[in-house]
Symmetry: D2
Subunit: 175 residues, 4 copies
């Protein structure tokens, strides 16, 4: 018995890690993103009304990587005045999804299959930057990790949340 060649092919796309440790990168984070892909990801972001509602902004895109920002707003809090886990999750799920979209073929769209989020510190800061990174890009499934940094008024940063996510490439048939 052998496995589905799709699955095995996808495994072969996995590049050798640059080093051991938590800094496993999909590929050069300094790589320049194809302008067609860049426009495509920006159009997807613009088409998500939830992101407009939360005023989430795109900070940067690179192959296998996306950075987004959420500013503190009084109407996005939980009972202690921290930014709600749901808003933080929206931010980092989006960063991971767009990171995945940068490495997908143009005829594929992204859907989140599942994610795990650890809320490691209270989200007390003035703004939040989420970084999504592709760690493994398969033909059907792509695994990402995300970090959310709270940025205080003095510019200092602290990790407030971590995500591990599985994304799926789905076919976009037509409009």
């Amino acid at each position: 018995m052998t496995l589905d060649p799709e699955y095995v092919d996808a495994a072969d796309q996995n590049p050798p890690p640059e080093r051991l440790g938590s800094g496993v990168e999909f590929e050069s984070p300094n790589g320049k993103l194809d302008p067609v892909i860049d426009r495509r990801v920006r159009a997807t972001i613009a088409s998500q009304s939830m992101l407009s509602t939360l005023e989430i902004k795109l900070l940067g895109l690179a192959p296998g990587r996306a950075e987004l920002e959420l500013a503190r707003r009084a109407d996005l809090c939980q009972q202690h005045g921290f930014i709600h886990a749901g808003a933080i999750t929206t931010l980092v799920d989006s960063a991971c999804g767009f990171a995945a979209l940068t490495v997908f073929p143009l005829d594929r769209d992204v859907l989140t299959v599942d994610f795990s989020v650890s809320l490691v510190a209270p989200a007390t800061q003035e703004k939040f930057i989420a970084v999504g990174s592709v760690l493994r890009n398969g033909r059907t499934l792509t695994t990402c990790r995300g970090e959310v940094f709270g940025v205080a008024a003095d510019g200092s940063r602290k990790v407030v949340a971590l995500m591990q996510a599985t994304m799926m490439a789905v076919t976009t048939l037509s409009d």
Copy 2:
């Protein structure tokens, strides 16, 4: 743009759930909640601005259990017009957190430590009901499960998301 028919077909295979809730129950789901705890949980819900922003409503509370509702809104969507995973997560994280709060001592408040969410079908329906249940109540950590059901215009229900969460009881010192 439409989705991969495979994805949509697969969603249709999802059978209607036999009942809401989780089969491993913390305690009698018919148990009556102490009115003091009931008022306390409702006050916590009212103090979360994120829930007001999303117009999330409380449907019911019982010992170790909370049900919340989110109505579809055009400003809470992702790129295909489904309700965004971040809004669904806000809903079910809240249901799990309030379920935990119903079994905490009155001098403890709840914080989410971490959760895992599976988005099992597109959130295409008119409204969404999340049920959070306490499966294990420890002194410091409490484990919950949540389900989100999409409710169509004809009243039929379909599971769209599942959560497994760890909640922490923290001391509320004073105001």
Copy 3:
């Protein structure tokens, strides 16, 4: 060396589960499994050397459901004499995977994509029963939940671990 009494006390608060299994059922848990599928799943279990090494036994199969058992062994422990999280995970991942396999077409095999495990009480008992249930069966991806019950010498049961898992149907080309 003994554990923090807080941790142990908390475990004792865990009520006996009312029944095995998950409240959101894929289909009738009393449904009879097709004998061809039954033989196929049993053959897969027999072909997994890790399960033989841990002496994991099949207790039962039904459509969308599998039950497995692991007996305490002195060589499967962590530092406090509890059964190791890795052995518990092996047990419940297998229960979820075989539950998925009962609902897959015969030309598809199962691979675990990802899972989240909560270790809700110390695995101190004499044996452990894992129940895996399919909650959502898609064409490519299937979502399962699992519970592990520790069974004491007097037959009483306590939940010790919970799993939420995503499984993938892969093509088996030939032998």
Copy 4:
């Protein structure tokens, strides 16, 4: 209302991240581990019979970091001859737990609360190296990430699994 000081204190222990991206480090990975802690972690590893059964070896320890190795064995496989997810999880859960133990006070022991594992490629290689890293060290809860690399006969490495885990510091009262 204010939060439990313990929780807030713990948040303050979180060091500034060295850089954005997936390489969030707890502290200098080149830091030298206190010999007392080193002996203590090695003693804990030696006391886990599950690790002896799987012949898991310690490769290295540093503050907030542990590396372990598992060699392929024919009796640790699943149905395709890949190393079983349960064995891979045992390896990386251990790496994360021992990473946590390197940063705990000597009167605290470690228990796994929960983890999420993504199996990103088939575990086909000759041996497997797991690296566990502490990303956030609180007074009660510690968040770790782990990676498992499959190492082929020619020495090339490929990521096969990723973990995100929550660990708990528990009091060890006496022997």
